[in-house]
Amino acid sequence: MQTRLLPLELRNIGYRANGRDVLKGISARIQSGSRTVILGPNGAGKSLLLRICHGLLDASEGSVHWQLSDPAGVRSAQTMVFQRPILLRRSALANIVYALKVRGIPRGQRHQRALAALQAVDLAGVAGVPARVLSGGEQQRLALARAWAMEPEVLFLDEPTSSLDPTAARQVFDIIQRLHESGTKIIMTTHDLGMARHLADDVLFLHQGELIEQAPAAQFFASPASAQARAFLSGELLWT
C-alpha cells in the first residue's frame, strides 16, 4: 500500500485548557509500517494528542505535518475509532454505507464494500440489525468495519478495547492486527500494558502532558530509559 501521508511529524505540540498546559513540547516523527502505541497513565494527554493528530482539535502551540500537503487528501486518507463507538440509529450495514457516501464512494459500490467490511469483522449476520441494539463488542467491531471500509492509510484508535470484556477485546485486537497486516498504519492510545506489549512496534510514552520517551517497543519494555516509564511499567506488577 502506498503511503502518501506518512511520515507524520509533530513539531512542538502544546495544548492549553483552562489555563493549564495539558500537552507541552511534544515533537515526534511517526513512520509508516509499524504499529505505534501512545502509552501512558490516565490523564497523560494521550487521547488529546490523538485528536490533535487526527485534526479534531487544533493545538495551542506547534503544528502537525503530514507528508501530503493537500488538506482534503489528508482528511480522507485517515479515520478514527473512538473508545465508545458512536453509531447512527440505523442498521449496521447502513452505518457503513453512510460513511462511504460521505467519503464520496459511488453509489453502486457502497453496498458491496460495506458488506465486505462487515464480513471481515464477522458481522455479516447482523447487517440488517439496528446498530445501537448490538452488544458493546459488536458495536466496536462495527466501528472498526466502518473504518476498514473507508480503506484509510492511517487508522487512529483511542483506547479501543477499554470498555470491552476480554473476549470482545480479543476480537477487536485481532481485527486491528489484520488491518495492520493489510498495510494500514495503526496509531493507538492505551493504558493497557498487556495490549501495548502485544501490539506495539513503537511506543510513545506520555506522562503529565509530556513526551517522555519514544522508542521501539522491545527496547522500551526491556529497558525503559526514564524513571517515569520504569514506574509505570512496574505499576503493572502491582496488578498482576
Binding site: 479534531l56 480522507s76 458512536i86 440509529r89 440505523r90 453512510y98 460521505v102 467519503r103 446498530a131 441494539v133
Partner: protein, 231 residues
Amino acid sequence: MNVALVDAFSRLMSGDAELLAIIALSLQVSVGATLIAAALGLPLGASIAVTRFPGRQTIIVILNALMGLPPVVIGLLVYLLLSRAGPLGNLGILFTPAAMVAAQSILIFPIVAALARQTIDDAWQEYAEQLRSLGVGPWQAALTLLWDTRITLVTVILAGFGRAIAEVGAVMVVGGNIEGVTRVMTTAIALETSRGDLSMALALGMVLIALVIVLNALTHLVKETAGKRYG
C-alpha cells in the same frame, strides 16, 4: 349537570352533524399549523444546533422564551397583520381558517424549533467528533441528526399539535368563531358555555380531552417501541 352529560353522550353517539363539522375543522386547522411549524421549525432547530455563530445564545434564549407566548397575543398580532389596514390586509384572509392556521403556526413554531434545537444539540454533543472524523459538513450533519433523532422529533411535533388543538385565544381573535366557517372545538366550548348549552360544550370538551389522551398515548407508544427497536 347530569342531564347535560347524558345529552352530550347522545350527541356524540348520534354523530351530530354540527358537532362533527366543528371537530373536523379543528383537526384541519391544527394539523395544518403543525405541518407548517414542523417544516420550518425542524430545519431551524437543527441549523442552530450544529452551527456556532455570534448571537447564537441570544437566539436560543429568545426561542425558548417564545414557547410560552400567550395565544391571545399571537392572535392579536396576526389580527393586526391581516386586518384590512394591516400590511397583509389585501390577502383578505382574516376570519377564515387560513388565518387560524397562520396564527397557530406562529404559536407552535417556537415550540417545535426550540425543542428540536435542544434534542439535536444533545445528539450533536454525542456525535460531533465521529461525524467530523468521517468528514461530514455542518449541513449534512444537521440532516443526519434530524434523521437520527426522528423518534424524539415525532414527540416534539405531537407536543406542538397538542398545544395548537387546545388553544383558544389565537383562533378566537383571528377566526372570529363564525358558525360553520371558523368555529373550532375550543371556541365553540367557550361560546356554548356562555350561552348555557352545556351539553354541546361538554360533548366537545370530552372529544378534546379524549384527543389529548390519545395523543399522549401515541407519543408514549412511539417512544417505547422505537426505543426498543433502534436503541
